[in-house]
């Protein structure tokens, strides 16, 4: 899906846990997620902490979307 949307001309950020697979399939902007059963959150955290975690993840993804890349890029921190 990442590749097809990009082929249509829209930049894509792939937020995913298993970064190596994302690299293998050819995503260009990759934001590492939390864990496979809960990529965008962490049920072990208190609700307030989790909300902050989730917001940061979304903000990081939006930032990645705005960033020009030359090659496959993993946005670590």
């Amino acid at each position: 899906m990442v590749k097809e949307i990009e082929r249509a001309g829209l930049p894509v950020v792939h937020v995913c846990t298993v970064v190596p697979i994302s690299l293998t399939v050819g995503a260009n902007r990759i934001v590492p997620a939390i864990a496979i059963p809960h990529p965008l959150g962490n049920p072990n955290l208190e609700p307030e902490e989790e909300k902050s975690l989730r917001r940061k993840l979304v903000e990081k993804a939006l930032k990645a979307l705005e960033t020009e890349v030359e090659d496959q890029t993993v946005f670590e921190d």
Partner: protein
Amino acid sequence: MRLELGQVLIKDVQFGDETKIDNGVLYVNKKELIDLIKEDEHLKEVDVDIAKPGESVRITPVKDVIEPRVKVDGQGGVFPGVLSKVDVVGSGKTNVLKGCAVVTTGKIVGFQEGIIDMTGPGAEYTPFSKLNNLVLRCEPVDDLKQHNHEKAVRFAGLKAAAYLAEVAKELNPDNVEVYETLPLLESVQKYPELPKVAYVQMLQSQGLLHDTYVYGVDAKQIVPTILYPTEIMDGAIISGNCVSACDKNTTYHHLNNPVVKDLYAKHGKEINFLGVIITNENVYLADKERSSNWTAKYTEYLGLDGAVISQEGFGNPDTDLIMNCKKIEQKGVKTVIITDEYAGRDGASQSLADADPLADAVVTGGNANEVIELPPMDKVIGHIDVADTIAGGFDGSLKEDGSIIVEIQAITGATNELGYNKMSAQGF
């Protein structure tokens, strides 16, 4: 470490007044066994049935299959850290009830348990259709949480197997196999001219009912470590798995790991089989990185020339597999990986979720997406209505006449990634 594995051949299983083995027949006191299993207050109802090769019987949903074994001589007991104390096992003598197994079924725990047909086309895909199976149907008390349900049924199977095997403790086995692994430096000295090989066994540890236990420790909490191969034969590794049936390793698979057996067969002749490195398949990327770093580190530290790597399950564990393969190869150690495929029903899709050019020697257990029609059976042990919802099944899998159309993914052991099955493929 040296283990004598004594095989007590079981050609039939019957109910009887006393649990005993007489002339190759295992007699089981049904009430005694049920009472033992019902000691667990999490189980509301327990029944025991027998399913023999060739009978028109379907068992589903199958959770685990266990081979009865008993420690005759040497340290510890079978299933250490689980049923027995955590002593190091794998030495001395162990007796095996060869030709029979305990199969656990009952209300489905997760959604990924399997099917065993004792006859027909489905029987060809599962090794357990060739055994005399003592089937435990365990029904949980109301509102039991899934993880407690899983644990209760896991222990029921292990306890039943230990109970049956106890009667073989004093028996003289029909034949004896001897397996021995020397401490590392002695083994290296003994066959200096042979290539040094280890087995890297990946254990399913994704959590949420996808779990394996090593000496009682949940495998997602281990870091990679080294076992003598014979430890596995005494039940050091057990299944707590409710994952796709075709390529999960049941406890029976662990006890009879064919990779271990085949490496022993070549040991001292073509290779120097040094031992087993166990590792896990966790759901955090940092865990995947750490574990594969450590398996690679061990292969270097052991001075290996080659490693055989087996996977369990599919999907994101494909990444653990490729990470292990790549990092071990980068240490200058040759690898062969054993996996299976999810290549679509027509076999035309990419087989694994991850890949690397260094993974250039691959053994497959077959394509789990292949579709099969399983004809109706005269008798069903368990709950047939799960056919539409188990992994490999789909809405409409179960027909009115009792036949089932499923992907072979739903058949227990069909594409086993230890090679304990008949399917594979050859590339030219």
